[in-house]
């Protein structure tokens, strides 16, 4: 199975678009292991929420593909890599911590995560192997 879809969320002013991003990811992953689909919905929820919380909501692009035995989720938004901690430091937060848990969760759900700068945008790629 191979498919690829991209959706832009523009002018995101509140968190209502987070559920729209999840629905989009779910709609593209109907034929795979539901557990993997659920994990990718959680990952996109964390990344889009993070983008909105950091004020980069003017355009959030969600790109999802399913190719060669893996799901690839790419979330791109305005900003620089300086806005986000190094992927290596995306670790589980201590149980009592209130914030800063989302990226550690994404790292845990992924087979690999990478981040790169594209001009005035930052792009986060989450890869997850299909068992």
């Amino acid at each position: 199975m191979s498919n690829h879809a991209v959706r832009e969320f523009r002018g995101t002013s509140d968190f209502a678009d987070v559920s729209a991003a999840r629905r989009f990811v779910r709609s593209q992953l109907v034929d795979i292991d539901p557990a993997v689909s659920s994990d990718m919905q959680l990952a996109v929820s964390e990344l889009v929420t993070n983008a909105i919380e950091h004020g980069h909501a003017d355009t959030v692009i969600v790109d999802i593909s399913c190719v060669d035995g893996e799901v690839i989720l790419v979330v791109t938004h305005p900003g620089t890599t300086d806005d986000l901690p190094d992927v290596d430091s995306w670790q589980p937060a201590p149980p009592e911590a209130l914030a800063g848990r989302g990226l550690g969760i994404v790292r845990h759900l992924a087979t690999s995560v990478s981040m790169r700068r594209l001009g005035d945008r930052v792009s986060i790629t989450v890869r997850r192997a299909l068992a």
Binding site: D14, R22, S45, E46, P95, G102, H108
Partner: protein, 104 residues
């Protein structure tokens, strides 16, 4: 509102210190949950989480805040019958042991 949007909403039904949650808990709906927990007059709050279809770290944050606030006042927050989505988040976040979880 379309049926699709109706499914996204978080529904909270209160009865005797227990809140039954149905739907999705994210940054959009988590404040609604925080407010509902704060409104419960009893020191012990039980959340029936069997019908939670989705929850992310924004929802978890509200649960941890409520857990702390209730414990500080001698109370307790119990996550009752967590759905697979809730169990998965507790597992991947590593906070499952920190909260009171009642599996059926």
């Amino acid at each position: 509102m379309t049926d699709g949007e109706a499914l996204q909403a978080l529904t909270i039904t209160a009865s005797d210190g227990q809140l039954a949650l149905a739907g999705e808990i994210d940054a959009h709906t988590a404040p609604q949950l925080g407010a509902a927990i704060a409104e419960v007059a009893a020191p012990h709050v039980v959340l029936d989480m069997s019908a939670v279809e989705f929850v992310d770290s924004s929802g978890l944050r509200v649960l941890i805040e409520a857990h702390k606030a209730l414990e500080e006042n001698g109370g307790r927050l119990v996550l009752h019958d967590p759905s697979p989505a809730v169990r998965r988040l507790l597992e991947v976040s590593g906070v499952g042991d920190h909260l009171h979880v009642e599996q059926l």
